[in-house]
Amino acid sequence: MRRVLHLEKIFISQYLKQTMEYKADFIVGVLGVLLNQVLNLIFLQVIFSQVPKLAGWSLQQIVFIYGFALIPKGLDHLFFDNLWIVGQKLVRKGEFDKYLTRPINPLFHVLVETFQVDAFGELLVGVILLVMSSATVHWTLLKVILFIVSIPFATAIYTALKIGTSAAAFWMKKSNTITYLFYMFNDFAKYPVSIFNHLIRWIISFVIPFAFTAFYPASYFLTGKNVLFNLGGLVVISVVFLFISIKIWNKGISSYESAGS
């Protein structure tokens, strides 16, 4: 474990050096990510200027769900964004070779190689929103503990979907658009599932289970109801998806063939 943390530290500092090469551009980018979230909030504000409650949820409650959604999304973005590059070019250009020749687990190596600092934009906004809306939640010690526990599991759902879909590149050479298609379903997670039709509700709960990264756990903290489904479901789904995606990844690596030259 100490070795893992040590390696992670080295990779992070290396990556920061790369990013800082274009400093002005980077700072502008972080501002852009922040602004994007702020504008989305203005959108919510516009919606709630028309109606007092949306499908039975108040603005504050929606803000809490929205803020919750940004935390696992931001954490996955911060630590594990390199998975996109696997499906985009690492496999296609044969650059994946380098991971296989190093004395660490290839998946681990891919995961820790980048540290996407612009994710701080999402995380910052997420934390601000949670703080702003935390008065709507009746916090108890149990809820605080469950909140902390639920975050890594929710993050794992994002990462699992990215591992599984980027592994498709081992067979198809390029799979980043598949990852993108899956990833875009996270947009649905930020709102109460009751506003969607049955098909979409079913998909975002059990097929591409982003609802478990935000709405379900957040609704437990807001209402205190259905802890077994809302949080138990989160744990089960995230463990199952992570297990399956690592299986796919390992199967993919064994059929990886480098690009000829």
Binding site: Y22, A24, D25, F26, I27, V28, G29, V30, L31, G32, V33, L35, N36, L39, N40, I42, F43, V46, I47, S49, Q50, V51, P52, K53, L54, A55, D118, K174, T177, I178, Y180, L181, Y183, M184, F185, D187, F188, Y191, I195, F196, N197, I200
Partner: protein, 272 residues
């Protein structure tokens, strides 16, 4: 004129070829983006269901549905990503090859983009615009399909594309100063999505903000064609928004020329 066309035709076919190769990718990508439009659709559906009014800021629910999907389609129709390649080409130095060629820098990008755009729009127009038309004909309470508005829409959307192209060219020249365009692209896209009315119709904003946004060039990129399609403007308003669009087009064409004149002196190629 024929000489002119002969010179640029290879770029169109190169763009088409590239687009076909990546069509599968493009379709998946487009499908991913469509999801965003569906999220917006369900949100507004819930808003209209929760509200006691049948029309919000002048929009009935069927009009809102048309607005959501039509603004999504218009966004694809008028999108222009010349600026992203300028950034990459400045970064790896390959921009030098473009500048060396005896053809206009801007026209080079334009014809390349037209080629791939023909394919993109062609592939998406059938399911998306077809869906919009079917909804309009079959759906209840939808605005009546109007040939005049349809023509106005296509004219206005074409102008919108040209504005967007020149706007992005102007913007891309910042790569000559910043070297890398990722950050400024993120910032620009966030602002354009908001100010062009693609996130929420401008009619929902407070009157003061609305008036400012309607004059700025961004409303010309998306809001104007979509509102024309929906027949929301009187004859007089129609003329004035179209004139405003043309004004912004001319403005950005000239701005691109001026910036190019200065930016070219600033260009430094890294490595080689």
């Amino acid at each position: 004129m024929t000489n002119f066309l002969r010179k640029y035709r290879p770029f169109v076919s190169a763009g088409i070829e590239e687009a076909i190769v990546y069509r599968a990718n493009f379709l998946l990508f487009a499908l991913g983006n469509t999801l965003g439009a569906f999220v917006t659709y369900f949100l507004w559906k819930a808003v209209f269901q929760s509200s006691t009014n049948s029309s919000l800021s002048g929009f009935t629910f069927p009009e809102m549905v048309l607005y959501i999907f039509l603004s999504f389609f218009t966004g694809i129709l008028t999108s222009s990503d010349g600026s992203s390649s300028v950034g990459d080409e400045v970064k790896d130095g390959s921009i030098a090859m473009r500048i060396l060629k005896p053809i206009s820098f801007t026209a080079n990008y334009f014809y390349e983009e037209i080629g791939s755009k023909l394919i993109d729009v062609g592939v998406l127009a059938v399911p998306l615009f077809g869906g919009i038309l079917i909804y309009q004909i079959v759906g209840t309470g939808t605005p009546v399909l109007n040939l005049g508005n349809l023509l106005l829409y296509f004219f206005s959307a074409t102008v919108a594309y040209l504005i967007n192209f020149y706007f992005n060219i102007c913007f891309s020249f910042t790569a000559f100063f910043f070297r890398n365009l990722w950050g400024s692209n993120v910032l620009k896209n966030a602002l354009v999505i908001f100010m062009s009315g693609s996130l929420v119709p401008l009619a929902f904003f407070p009157p003061v903000l609305q008036n400012v946004l309607k004059v700025l060039p961004f409303s010309s990129l998306l809001y104007t064609p979509v509102m024309l399609y929906l027949g929301k403007y009187s004859m007089q308003q129609t003329i004035s928004v179209l004139l405003l669009q043309i004004f912004w087009l001319i403005f950005f064409i000239f701005l691109a020329k001026i910036i190019w004149h200065f930016a070219i002196k600033h260009l430094s190629i890294q490595g080689g």
